[in-house]
Amino acid sequence: MRHELSTPVGREEVLKLRVGDVVYLSGVIVTARDRAHRRALELPKEEIPVSFNVIYHCGPLVKKQNERWEVLSAGPTTSARMEPYLASLLEKFSTRLIIGKGGFSPAAKELFKKHTAAYLAFTGGAGALAARAIKRVLAVHWLDLGIPEALWVLEVAEFGPLIVAMDAHGESVYQE
């Protein structure tokens, strides 16, 4: 089944997603990798400069031109690295969608179910294609972590195809 979703994504919409479904997403997403996760979990919620409604595991390749950031390539990074932070993240920020590649271990299935969230996989290595769906850089935070690790707030239009790889019903596309 194909879904066209817009951010912010709510509980009801997430519950409609089933493993194997295809999603095209429009709206605002935020990139976060290992170090950003750690900082986001350390800081009090009111000091977090972004909404984590949709998180994208990605360290984009960007270029600054005329004082404006342009995203040139922005495929997903390996999500498993962020698995140690997953439980606390879903708990603290009520994140509804995580986009990445490679998935999490089977233990994460329960977490997505418990917090009514879903994991969407974008094709690893398809960075240029992902960048094509990114219309604008709305903001960047925590650049002190380095360009790949910073929080990039991106406006996307019909970003996809994203595969529902772990859904909010405890199912996963990845074999055990």
């Binding site: 390996t78 590649k101 490679g102 094709t123 290595g125 972590l145 380095g146 790949p148 990845y174």
Partner: protein, 277 residues
């Protein structure tokens, strides 16, 4: 030069460096345990004796390893490569992905201590191969010193288990480079070099060619599939390079390459440098 090399090896195996010997001496002076003192005394006696008689200190004279540096124009090549990386980081551009290993501070230009990785090798033809290797596939690569008795069966188990546990993380379908033999570091280097072989090129060594085919079949039977979504093709090709090794060792390294194999070669053709792929 030959005679100097021979002397280099001889001195190394028959004589302990002074600082090591002095450290052993100091240890003996501090040591109170009588059994330990006896061991240290015997060691120092052996060192003195071997030096005097020009005999190898130990019967296991190990694997011969050389680090050849500063020959010819290598330092210039290194400088040029580093500058090219800095320049392309700005112009192509490349993502600045290199950080200090301890502070994790990004260097900003994809260079750093020991970065980029440059292996200098011999050869008749001048060429420079460039491989852009992502971390997703590198992070799930492994090296292991297997018990020598495990043989080919052990090698296969290790390779298949490495790919199995990597799952979807390295962006399958992958290319699997396997380095067998040498030492821990050489096996790892061979595994990386194995990735440079053209996919369709048949391994000239019959037993390695057979191993490649069998590994490919076993890996593809894992059912990981493209991006971990299942299916029959987890691996595009397995490439094996082997080197001789110590009779007590069986080093094996597995270097996994994501489908996005970023490779190009600079080659000298009729006085001109040509980029090939």
């Amino acid at each position: 030069m030959r005679s100097q090399l021979v002397e280099l090896i001889r001195v190394a195996v028959t004589s302990l460096p002074r600082d090591v010997e002095e450290a052993l001496q100091r240890t003996l002076e501090r040591e109170e345990n009588p059994l330990a003192r006896l061991q240290l005394e015997t060691i120092l006696k052996n060192v003195a004796y071997a030096r005097e008689r020009r005999l190898p200190l130990c019967q296991d004279t190990g694997v011969p390893i050389f680090f050849v540096r500063g020959f010819g124009n290598l330092s210039e090549v290194e400088r040029e490569i580093k500058q090219a990386v800095r320049e392309t980081t700005r112009t192509v551009p490349l993502r600045p992905s290199i950080v200090d290993a301890i502070t994790r501070k990004n260097t900003g230009d994809n260079t750093g201590e020991g970065m980029p990785v440059i292996h200098f090798e011999g050869g008749e033809e001048q060429s420079i191969i460039f491989l852009a290797k992502g971390a997703g596939s590198e992070n799930v690569s492994r090296a292991k010193m297997l018990p020598a008795s495990e043989g080919v069966a052990g090698i296969k188990r290790f390779v298949v288990e490495t790919v199995r546990s990597a799952g979807a993380k390295p962006c399958p379908p992958v290319i699997v480079g396997v380095g067998i033999g040498g030492t821990l570091d050489l096996a790892a280097k061979l595994a990386k070099e194995a990735l440079l072989q053209p996919l369709s090129q048949r391994n000239p060594r019959e037993e390695l060619s057979k191993l490649e085919e069998e590994l490919l079949e076993e890996i593809n039977a894992l059912g990981i599939g493209a991006m971990g979504m299942g299916g029959s093709t987890t691996c595009l090709a397995v490439k094996v390079l082997a080197s001789a090794c110590h009779t007590a060792s069986l080093p094996v390294a597995v270097n996994i390459q994501c489908w996005a194999y970023r490779y190009a070669r600079l080659r000298r053709v009729d006085e001109e440098w040509v980029v090939e792929q």
